[in-house]
Amino acid sequence: MRVDYFGRIYDFLQKRKLLVVCLIIAVILASVIGLRLVQYNNDIGLMLPQDKKVQRSMQFLREANFSDKLVISLRLEDPGRSSEDLISTTDQFSRSLKSPLIKQVIANVSGNNLISEVIFFLEYTPELLNQESLLKIDKQLNPQGIKERLRFIYRQSLAPGSSFMMPFLRADPLGASNLVLRNIEKLSTSLGYDVIVRNGFLLSRDERNTMVIIKTSVPITEGFGSRKLISYLTGKFESLPKFIKPSIIAGHLHTVSNEDIIKRDILVTSTVAGISFLLLFLLFFRDARAAIIFFMPFISVLISINIAYLFFRNLSYFVIGMGTVIAGIAIDYGIYVYVAVRRAGNGINTIRQVIRPVISGAFTTISVFVAFFFSSVEGYHQLAFFSNLSIVLCLSFSLLILPHFLKRKDIVQKNVLPRAPRLNFNNLSFKVSDSARIFLWLIFISLSLLLSVGVRFSNDITQFDGTSKGILLAEEDFHRAWGGKSIPAVFIVSGKTLEEAYQLNEEVYLEAVGAIGEDNFSSLSSFWPSKKKRLENLLRWEEFWSKEKEAKFKRMLTNYGKPYNFSQDAFGPFFKNLHIAGTLPDEPDNLSIFSNLKERFVIKKADGYQIVSFFPDNDAYLKKLSEVSNNYSGTFIVSRKSFSNLVSRAYGREMVWLFFLAAGATLAFTIILLKSFRLATLALIPVVTAIAIIMSVFSVFKLSLNAPAIIACMVVVGIVSDYGMFVVYYCKYKFKTGTYTAVAFAAVTTLIGAGSLLFARHPLLFSIGITLSTGVFSGYIASILVIPPLYRIWIKERLLCAN
């Protein structure tokens, strides 16, 4: 005996309406309170596939030394003011920055001991010069070579501004350390910023900008901390004089801006959708109770956010941004039930007539979102959970609770039928034959598919960034003043110990330089080799500078220096330091010139060390260095270009698999629920039409199809298959439950939800809005224009023949 569970629950709730209302109000209040406690995450990593390479790149970017830095650029706006005013303001401003969020403020790069530091560092020259360099020195150690060198030194002393050269010439008469000096200079400028140092302050070339670097404890992806930090800094800007224009250049600003834009988008889209929904219901239904349909999806979304947060603890803003779309989908079930009850009363029999198509429609939509659980993207898991929960809640409200508040008596007394748009094209005054309609549809679909050929997929990772134009313009200004716009790619080597990382870095350096040239690869290895290598160099140096060779060199300097009157002690510093290297500390960490470079190139991690090298981010170098990387385990490359390609490939794999999974699930559910292949084929006509039209619109308007747009396509599949299902049910059973009106309202409400995304500023939400609007509109039109004639020709006639 079949137990009528639905009937029992329906009756149970009908008898306890007050309790139900109280319970719902309590849940809503709890959800509103809970909403204030929910923490959102703007981390782009949540929306990226769990591909090993993609995640490794993301992890590197999060942990890299530069991710904890902000740059403040202070620009002198008043032409009457001098760079001295700018420097003094920068000094005062940087001293005023005191916050627990700020670890260090670097406004003044101490140039105090720069030259003495470099001279001290040159004491390490014996450890840094390889055999090739010693051969070059050997070639100079003859009368001709020494004479030339001494003449060169003499000429240098005649040049203006020779003072700063003298200490170097005395400490290194042979110019042996030129290579070391060149490498220090090359590495110091490898970030590509065009900086001059004045009184220790970093000035742009035009001397109208100063730079202040801030190290913070706030991770770049942490929205709350970023907001606090940016707010602290902008507060400090208020104390700056009028002639200074400050700007912040930092990933943190992007985090805050993205959050602001998504929040603004959510507010705008919700308001637009809310007002439109309310107007639509109140104007067409002219029934205050219709507002219940409007509130149901929002209540469902509200509850779902809280429950989803309890599960994931870390909700993506992007997922929440989809809230209005989900509301637009979930509202459909309430509409079907409302229209049916208005037409046929709120008896259980009316509900039984709509329950099948409503649940079938919900199941196909749920099946699409279930497919997202099979994705490796954590954000999609959240989307699937959040969407399905909202749909299930809204479905339950629609079938079990809504009918009890729509009394038949009210409807009969008022004798008001919904004044919904009667979009039944069968009633048009001009008649188009069924065959002609199908023929026109086939031509339309063929044309759309032809136009779709030009559609292109965008893999640019920056499309996920909805940062405001103001910030992007400030960044443009910054790069105009300071240069450094082209971000280099990074070659990373890892080691359990620093020495292991140094050794691997050394091996990679030799191969990388062979592949793309010395000038294109900025590596710490070019001036600071591993300890093993340095010891080898030192032994070679000691062997080279034997007592005899040293004495011979000294003699030659004295003899050949006489014509120029070189003093006895002219090159004393060189001989004093000739054999000192072995007694020096292992690494000159006390020299800021060394420690600053080391900090930029070496990353200390919990499980070891990473050493980074920089090279221009272009395809040719990426290809060559990827080959080098493939030869060494523990190495990898992070570049904006390759990252986009990695994400694109990973997404590509995911999308194809997910799309087929969702489409397959929709097809299977449709066949199972309709119990007929032919009916299922008819129900899927809106799906085919919607996909063809979306593709052609993207192609014609030269829009780039991106991963979120493909997700939106999958959502369209779920939505328009519902329309197909309802119209097929109507064609088959002819229940007087206002199917066409309900489908029309469902489409209009979904279009309002999706269309409101067209007001979004965030590029992703906008892209989703375009896809959903186009797909839902074309799917709706196909469901009411194409399914009925096809049903009449393909199924009804066959049934008649069979009868």
Partner: protein
């Protein structure tokens, strides 16, 4: 005389050296700046005496300097060896008779050299107010004007310069000599003779090479 008493005498002597309040320094700098603001070109011969630890004897250079505002400088040494250097905006061309080759250097790529050249140009052109960022300026004498420049901590010059003393000629038309004392105890005195202000400069001055005069 012991070393201690000698130091005491030197200290007492230094204490007696006049030092004017900052207000007077500012007014002298403004006066000089105003006077130099009408100067568009400077041509002068010079004698430079270098006492460098690297050499046993003084090196004495004789040559000429030409300055045309903005940012044009020609430095020509005629003895002991011909050496010409011309700076125009951000690049330098130099030639010497020893190598007989013209060398071009971008100042943007040689920041240290740029600092040295720019400082030198500042000394010669009298734009001392702009040097307040890098130097503490003392007024040692008002007539004739003698200014002392001591590099501030963190300025590029503090790495190698102890102090610079600029002595103006009695008529205050131009600098009489500049004395540079370095941390290495090297010392340079540059004496200007036959100075001409705002006179047209021969185009040939901006050329370098064996045929340039």
């Amino acid at each position: 005389m012991t070393k201690k008493s000698l130091s005491l005498i030197v200290c007492l002597f230094l204490l007696n050296a006049p030092c004017y309040p900052q207000g007077e320094v500012d007014s002298v700098l403004s006066y000089l700046e105003e006077k130099m603001s009408v100067v568009k070109t400077i041509q002068t011969d010079f004698v430079q005496e270098k006492s460098l630890a690297m050499f046993s004897d003084k090196i004495v250079l004789k040559g000429s300097i030409s300055i045309q505002k903005p940012r044009h400088l020609s430095w020509r040494v005629y003895s002991p060896m011909r050496y010409y250097m011309v700076m125009a905006l951000n690049s330098i061309r130099q030639w010497d008779e020893d190598t007989n080759q013209v060398q071009q250097i971008s100042l943007n790529r040689n920041p240290s050299f740029k600092v040295a050249i720019e400082q030198m140009q500042n000394w010669f052109s009298g734009s001392y107010r702009s040097m307040l960022t890098d130097y503490k300026i003392n007024l040692l004498s008002k007539s004739p004007i003698v200014l002392e420049f001591i590099p501030k901590d963190n300025s590029p010059a503090c790495n190698f310069i102890e102090r610079v003393v600029v002595r103006f000629k009695g008529d205050e038309v131009y600098i009489g000599n500049i004395s540079i004392e370095e941390k290495s105890k090297d010392r340079t005195v540059l004496t200007f003779i036959n100075t001409r202000i705002n006179q047209p400069i021969d185009k040939n001055v901006w050329e370098v090479g064996p045929n340039a005069r």
